[in-house]
Structure formats: C-alpha cells, structure tokens
C-alpha cells in the first residue's frame, strides 16, 4: 500500500481537484484492492489496476455534476466557436528563476485545481494518464473535437497562470 498510495492519491486529487474527496476515493480504492488481495499481491499489473479503479471512482464522484458540466461546457463551446489561437511561449530567461522546485510543484498543482473541471479532467487524462484523445472522448462521452478544444484551452489557461508567476519554458530547462 505504501508503494502505491501516492500514485492513487495523485490520480484522484488531480482529477477531482478536491483533496478531501481524493482521500476518500483513495481509501475506497485500497479497500477494494484488499478484497482482491490474493489476485493482486504478485500481479505486475496491480499498479494499473489501482490507477484504473482510482480513475473510475473519481469519475463516479464527479458524475453527480457531470450533466451540468457537459451542458454548461457545451454552451460555452458554442459561444466560443473555433480553436483559440496557438500561443508561443518564448524560451527566455525568467525573472523568477529563484522559484524553487517544491514551490513550483505546489503552484502547478494549485493552478491545475483552479482550472474548470471540463478543462482539468481531459488535461489530466492526457498528460498524466497518457490517454489518447479518442479514449478521453469515449470516457467523457463528448466529441473528439471538444476534447481537443478543451485540452487546448486548458493548456493556454495553465500556461497563462504559470507565466504570470514567472514559470516559463526557459526556467524549466535551466
């Protein structure tokens, strides 16, 4: 459990954007894993199983708000038809190079939480869970273009938040 608890908690926390909920979800994941302990204890796919269950349980938590979320995010998409312009981020020296790694990590987590759910969820699935667009669209039951648009907008929003904090590509490369 020690080996996987951070992974499970991270998945739930990043998808749900709520630490208390993530703790409950992670607990439920391990309770279920305990029921299948014999099956999982020497299974090389245990980590994948835990991650899938964490993702699914988080979706179950989020599904209470899902209909409202889909409705409003689609209204918003109709208002803002088309993709947002592709922004470029200059790889120049940042004014806040001194921002320490830990602080930056915390800031990025907070920025992720600040994203609206319809952007955060596909972004996390794409970048952290390494899911292809098609699978995300199937999972979220939305169209492929919508997934791409939401992820694109999420990236722009996140990049904007990070840029205001002085976190740039150059700083990452340093």
């Amino acid at each position: 459990m020690r080996k996987y608890q951070d992974m499970v908690y991270s998945t739930a926390a990043r998808l749900s954007g709520n630490d208390a909920q993530a703790e409950d979800i992670a607990q439920e994941v391990f309770l279920r894993a305990h029921r299948r302990f014999e099956e999982l204890k020497d299974n090389p796919r245990a980590a994948g199983w835990l991650k899938t269950v964490a993702t699914n349980l988080t979706f179950t938590h989020l599904s209470r708000y899902r209909k409202r979320w889909v409705f409003f995010s689609q209204l918003q998409s109709q208002d803002e038809d088309g993709d947002a312009p592709e922004h470029e981020f200059p790889a120049t020296e940042s004014v806040s190079d001194e921002v320490q790694d830990d602080e930056r990590h915390e800031f990025v987590e907070a920025a992720l939480r600040a994203l609206p759910e319809h952007q955060r969820v596909p972004l996390v699935l794409f970048h952290f869970e390494e899911m292809p667009y098609e699978e995300i669209a199937t999972k979220l039951r939305v169209s492929l273009p919508k997934v791409k648009t939401d992820i694109h907008r999420a990236r722009l929003a996140l990049a904007g938040i990070l840029a205001r904090r002085g976190i740039t590509a150059a700083q990452l490369e340093a």
Partner: protein
C-alpha cells in the same frame, strides 16, 4: 520557441506524485479492521461464506410453506380458543392474522391441486425471466443515462 503543448507537457511531466496525507495508511487500516470486525451476515451477500450462500436460497424458499403452515396452525388454535373464552383485542388481531394465513394456505392448496404443475413452474420461470429482463433493462438504462462507460465494474 515552445508550443503550449510542449511547455505544459514539460511542466506536468516534471510534477512529482502528490503525497498522500499523513495518517492515510492508518485510516485505511483502521477501516479494514472495522470491516473485518463486522459479522459476516452484516456484510454483503457476496462476502458470506460459500456454505452460507449455498444454503441461503433453499432455506429461504423452504421457509415459505413453513410460514403458511404455521399461520394455518395458529388460526386453528385461535378458533378453538375463541370457542372456549371471549377474545381480547390482541387475540382478535392475532385471529385476523391467523385467518389471513389460513386463507393463504387454502389458496395455495387450491392452486397446487387445480393448476397443472407445468403451468406453475412455467409461470415461476416466466416471472423469473421477466424479473431478469427488467433488471437488465434498468441496469442498462442506469449505465447509459447515469454512468459513463468507464464506470462499468472492472
């Protein structure tokens, strides 16, 4: 120059795992201990011992005729008691219940005698089939209307 995709991918790739809260492990272990301390009959049917699961269904079915017989016997007993002494309110209520049981038993006897057993078993089978179909329909509706596909049991 870096595209937003590359930039965000680089940022997120560098993110370490979120650390589970202190005491998380203890909380899970405590919950497991609480669950283990509960007697098996309080837990879900799937976690009952295999022997109990196997015995449950025939016992539950076997209880039905026993209940009819018990109700019939009670009714007969109360009728004989009524002839010997006046009834109190509680006895009157018990008599009513007993009469209902007696009626149900009589009805069951008539059904078993008058209706061919093939029809009865066919009816029971049809009812079970309809129940399973309704259950399946409800489950499918729940999955498609409420849950997304990834919520299906793993």
């Amino acid at each position: 120059m870096t595209s937003p995709e590359q930039f965000i991918d680089a940022v997120l790739r560098r993110q370490p795992l979120r650390r589970a809260p202190a005491g998380f492990e203890a909380r899970v272990l405590q919950r497991l201990a609480q669950q283990a301390a509960r007697p098996w009959w309080v837990q879900g049917f799937s976690r009952w011992p295999k022997a109990a699961q196997l015995l449950f269904l025939p016992l539950a079915i076997g209880c039905v005729p026993l209940l009819f017989r018990a109700a019939g016997s009670l009714s007969a007993f109360l009728q004989s008691a009524r002839q010997s002494a006046p009834l109190s309110a509680a006895e009157s209520a018990a008599t009513t219940v007993g009469s209902l049981g007696h009626t149900a038993q009589t009805l069951a006897d008539v059904v078993m005698r008058e209706i061919p057993s093939v029809w009865i078993y066919g009816g029971v089978g049809l009812a079970a089939l309809l129940y399973a179909a309704l259950f399946g329909l409800c489950a499918a509706a729940f999955r498609s209307l409420v849950l997304t596909p990834q919520h299906a049991p793993y």
